[in-house]
């Protein structure tokens, strides 16, 4: 069975929320594995032709991710942090991003593959990946 680890083009928020499918992990035939580029100068690039249709992650998950990101990047309390906030735009460098991923692994008791961790560039992406991995764990 193909493991799903792919970068995905995001739908516009309104479209995403109006397509509520059950999140099926790893069994959707429309998903393809693609290679990902991670530009080292802080300009993340998503190059993919696959689509992911998913529910939004649970608000509690998003909230916990926000806390971890805030702590890692030492963001002042008044700084704006939304699910769409890009880590690089918040000042995260590659070491910060790796630390964030490690923090998420510990918090949620999951294991993130190297190539998946490149896909985590925003709070929303982190939360979605976490939920997917938790669900996979539950099924194992």
């Amino acid at each position: 069975m193909a493991a799903v680890s792919a970068t995905c083009v995001r739908f516009e928020p309104s479209l995403k929320h109006s397509i509520k499918l059950n999140q099926v992990t790893g069994r959707t035939s429309s998903l393809k594995l693609v290679s990902v580029g991670w530009a080292r100068n802080g300009f993340p690039s998503l190059r993919s032709s696959c689509f992911r249709i998913s529910c939004s992650a649970k608000p509690e998950t998003v909230q916990k991710v926000c806390e971890i990101v805030r702590k890692q990047l030492a963001l002042p309390p008044e700084s704006e942090l939304t699910p769409e906030s890009k880590f690089s735009a918040l000042g995260a460098d590659s070491l910060d991003t790796v630390e964030i991923v490690m923090g998420l692994e510990e918090e949620f008791d999951i294991s993130v593959e190297e190539d998946s961790s490149q896909n985590i560039t925003t709070v929303q992406e982190a939360a979605d990946l976490i939920e997917k991995l938790i669900q996979k764990k539950g099924e194992a």
């Binding site: 100068n41 735009a89 630390e99 923090g103």
Partner: protein, 313 residues
């Protein structure tokens, strides 16, 4: 109303106000860095902003807060002005340069091709921290660089982090260091070296996962961290006897405040001549304002690798 500062010699920004440089020859690396704190003039910053492409400007404005915006402007301005210095041809100016990403996301110059003209095999790589932004340039050799503040701490426990991401040999090395401060310093040095290697390969984080290779250097082998700089090597974790010998590393202390790691390809043509050390020249710059060659000064201390520091007067 224009304010004329005595150190702003150039009001009309054009590429001719950059001190031109010949391209580095093979087996030499040019390393340029800027200290954001030295750029205090908002009109200079605006001049830099003006050099950027629309896409780069968008990225700048997405950054949260003035400091991050400034850093983003300086990073792009440094790359553009650095490459433009090399007088590639009369068409190249900081503003005219175009960039693209290779198949793995590594930035490269997109030369405007002409019938009669072939672009030089110029390679570059940049890295930034909040207090220093650097750009390395070579000809005919892949290059990756990484800079970190010497005082950088991580939120996680160092050994836990290393166990998660570094190779077994590297974890053993770090574990063997009794002093926590020395351990932290060695961790940061290892991180910069590993980052520089992955960036030189240009395959992205997943193209060369940190666990799959080990960086070793002289001090690490002898256990004496005060020993003189000696060769740094990378080996594949799967096959420790296989030194991936076509990469060479330099580790520097920069401006007393940062570690900088530079990874470049060895020149295969020189194989018969033994281990010819690569030459390195370092400039501190404020583009359009001043350049200072700092190789051979206290601002550049080579702490790893066999590189020779070249002073250009």
């Amino acid at each position: 109303m224009m304010k004329i500062h005595c150190y702003e010699r150039n009001f009309c920004v054009s590429s001719c106000s950059l001190v031109p440089k010949p391209l580095p020859p093979r087996m030499e690396t040019h390393f340029w860095y800027i200290l954001p704190d030295e750029v205090k003039s908002s009109s200079l910053l605006n001049q830099y902003l003006d050099l950027l492409s629309p896409c780069e400007k968008e990225n700048v404005f997405r950054m949260q807060g003035d400091q991050l915006k400034k850093r983003a402007i300086l990073a792009r301005a440094l790359v553009r002005t650095t490459i433009a210095r090399y007088q590639i041809n009369s068409q190249v100016s900081p503003r005219s340069l175009k960039f693209r990403k290779n198949i793995h996301g590594k930035p490269e110059v997109e030369w405007q091709l002409d019938e009669d003209w072939r672009p030089p095999p110029l390679h570059f790589n940049i890295s930034h921290t909040s207090s220093l932004i650097a750009c390395g340039v070579t000809v005919d050799s892949l290059i990756g660089i990484d800079v970190e503040e010497k005082q950088r701490t991580i939120k996680n426990n160092i050994l836990s982090f290393a166990q998660r991401y570094f190779s077994r040999h590297e974890v053993e090395l770090l574990t063997s260091i009794p002093d926590t401060e020395v351990q932290r310093q060695e961790f940061i040095k290892l991180w910069t070296l590993k980052e520089a290697y992955v960036k030189a390969l240009g395959r992205g984080f997943s193209g060369a996962p940190f666990k799959t290779f080990t960086i070793r250097y002289g001090a690490a082998i002898s256990g004496n961290f005060n020993s003189e700089a000696s060769e740094i090597v990378v080996e594949s974790s799967d096959d420790p006897t296989n030194l991936t010998s076509n990469w060479e590393f330099t580790l520097l202390e920069l401006a007393g405040s940062h570690y900088a790691a530079i990874c470049t390809e060895k020149d295969n043509a020189c194989e018969g001549k033994g281990n010819v050390p690569r030459k390195l020249t370092v400039w501190k710059t404020i583009p359009f304002v001043e350049d200072e060659c700092v190789s051979g000064t206290g601002a550049v201390v080579i702490i790893g690798g066999l590189t020779e520091s070249e002073v250009i007067t």
